[in-house]
């Protein structure tokens, strides 16, 4: 750590971990409900659990991205954050808005559109919060000594993520138009601007961990985010096949979304090659595990499993089934959860001065969570394929099919238990690092 203000990141990461654990609790509630045990139905019905699971996911990832920005931007811009106080105000207001939304979901207060359940009143507070965040980051960047590509790409990602929240706030009378613009948020986030955020964090980590020349890394960063937008923007069409808009999207969405895996493939090749090329072997092995892991698992979860159902001929049958849940889990995990865990693993020792670089607990956290998540993906996948076959080919009733696939949710719960064990180990490791301190400032090392 080179600047005192970078310590703010610690508290964003801590909030992130807290909300993450809570997200998983609601995941279990849904897993059990699918397996036939909905004992909590009267207090936490499935739709509450699902809204909480998804919104906590988004908020903990955003909190992680914001922490990453507060850590990375000072170092890239070579100056302190313009205001640490405002950053704490922003942190607390983020936590309050998030928690208020989550509590509301338990009292039937929501907007009822998947991923965008936060009621409009609170949406405005979200906007104010994010504007404050962007204000701090942008002024720091512009007052800074240098403007690197890494910082620019990261900031651009955060800026456009904020901008794209707005189409989700427009009201429509038509369910079809509503859905159309819901995807401007959901799709253009995860298959567009969030990839910029991921790319920026990845590039920062690779520069630090491998010692490969910044110019080389940043050149490839442009290529990757170029591929992302080239395929991802028109790739939005893969959500427009069967919602009641023109057939032209079957062609446009089919072709461009089929190209989307290229960006993730490029990301994986990029990370692995930079690692091979790097002369410097940074002692923080855990950070390296998570960094390379994110690049590789995102290719599998988003690239391969996304491709598996993105062609219109396939999507006709898999649209809106557990196949989608299979893909959603591994994609979110690989691309966004793992990159947040990577930047935490990298920055925590630097902020606290405790160099727990290669604990066996840390390595177990990595393997347990990843193997658990892959198992969960397989469980969802098998359930999904059986569902598609029985329901959409054999024309069995939805509820009859659900009884047939109940058993796969036992497997899901088992794998989720392994996954959660890994996450708990990760959080113990987080805790053992202690608090951030000014004494951890290190001006000589390149970290």
């Amino acid at each position: 750590m080179k600047y005192k203000s970078q310590k703010v990141a610690y508290w964003f990461f801590a909030l992130s971990m807290l909300l993450f654990v809570l997200q998983l609790v609601y995941g279990f509630i849904m897993g059990f409900a699918h397996a036939g045990f909905d004992g909590l139905h009267d207090i936490i019905p499935f739709n509450t659990a699902k809204a909480v699971h998804l919104n906590l996911l988004v908020v903990w990832l955003l909190s992680g991205f914001m922490g990453a920005a507060y850590y990375i931007i000072p170092e890239e811009a070579q100056r302190e954050l313009v205001s640490v106080k405002l950053a704490y105000v922003q942190l607390i207001s983020l936590a309050l808005v998030g928690v208020a939304a989550i509590i509301g979901f338990h009292f039937n207060i929501w907007e009822g559109r998947k991923f965008l359940e936060i009621p409009r009143g609170l949406d405005y507070l979200v906007v104010i919060n994010v504007l404050l965040f962007l204000g701090i980051i942008l002024t720091t960047l512009f007052k800074g000594k240098r403007r690197t590509t890494t910082a620019l790409v990261l900031t651009m990602g955060l800026f456009f993520a904020a901008l794209l929240y707005l189409p989700g706030m427009l009201p429509f009378d038509s369910q079809v138009t509503d859905s159309f613009f819901r995807w401007w948020v959901v799709h253009l986030w995860v298959e567009g601007v969030w990839e910029l955020i991921m790319g920026g964090i990845l590039s920062f980590l690779l520069i630090k961990l491998t010692g490969v020349d910044r110019e080389v890394i940043e050149k490839w960063l442009y290529v990757i985010v170029g591929l992302t937008f080239l395929s991802g923007v028109l790739g939005t069409g893969h959500h427009y096949y069967y919602i009641g808009v023109n057939k032209i999207w079957l062609i446009v969405g089919g072709i461009f979304s089929a190209l989307e895996p290229l960006a993730f493939l490029a990301m994986a090749l990029f990370a692995v090659n930079m690692y091979r090329k790097g002369e410097k072997k940074h002692p923080n092995k855990l950070a390296l595990y998570w960094t390379l892991g994110a690049a590789i698992v995102s290719f599998v979860g988003a690239g391969l499993l996304g491709f598996a159902h993105t062609l219109p001929q396939t999507n006709l049958y898999t649209h809106g089934t557990l196949v989608t849940a299979m893909h959603g889990h591994l994609a979110f995990w690989g691309a966004y959860a793992m990159i947040v865990l990577a930047i935490i693993s990298y920055s925590l020792p630097n902020m606290t001065g405790r160099k727990l670089y290669d604990s066996s607990r840390g390595r177990m956290a990595f393997w347990f969570s990843n193997i658990g998540m892959i198992g969960m993906t397989v469980a969802f996948g098998v359930a999904g394929v059986v569902q598609v076959y029985l329901e959409r080919k054999m024309k069995m009733e939805f509820m009859e099919v659900q009884k047939e696939i109940e058993v796969h949710f036992y497997v899901l719960i088992l794998c989720a238990t392994l996954f959660v064990t890994g996450i708990i180990l990760y959080i113990i490791d987080f805790y053992k690092h202690g608090r951030p301190t000014d004494e951890a400032i290190d001006l000589t090392s390149t970290d």
């Binding site: 739709n47 699902k50 998947k114 369910q175 009641g244 032209i248 999207w249 006709l316 809106g320």
Partner: protein, 144 residues
């Protein structure tokens, strides 16, 4: 070899071009001439039904147009499948509806509210879904 400047040009150029095409296609597919939703049939009752649908987050359990939760039946062609009387019974039931052993929230809607939601489903029913409707409805047995 590719230079950093060329890489940046690729990023900015590619983004601008695809974004403009995307906006163009958006305007096209929302225009009246290619409407597949019978937009003129969105009556006040349909809108009230949609508001009930949203404000109770039915999408948290059910899918509609293939979007939502994977816990409860897809409702795109529900009127064809069940008939209006059955749906009214589901919506007005004072206890959790669960003929197949999986609970729905007991909303206990009034008759007017139930009818509004049914109007909403009725409108959804007639949307041209590029073939998806034949896949999600068991009546599709007759269609393909």
């Amino acid at each position: 070899m590719l230079s950093k400047k060329q890489a940046r040009a690729f990023f900015l150029g590619g983004t601008l071009v695809t974004f403009l095409i995307f906006i163009g296609l958006t305007i096209f597919s929302l225009s009246k001439d290619v409407d597949q939703t019978n937009h003129e049939n969105i009556t006040e009752a349909v809108v009230r039904g949609k508001n009930l649908w949203d404000s109770n987050n039915c999408m948290g359990c059910h899918t509609i147009l293939g979007e939502g939760g994977y816990y409860a039946p897809e409702l795109t062609k529900v009127i064809d499948r069940r008939g209006k009387g059955y749906i009214k019974a589901v919506l007005m039931s004072p206890v959790a509806w669960e003929p197949n052993g999986r609970k729905m929230v007991a909303y206990g809607f009034s008759e007017e509210e139930a009818l509004d939601i049914i109007e909403f489903f009725d409108w959804i029913d007639d949307i041209d879904l590029n073939g998806f409707d034949t896949v999600v409805s068991p009546l599709a047995k007759d269609n393909n």
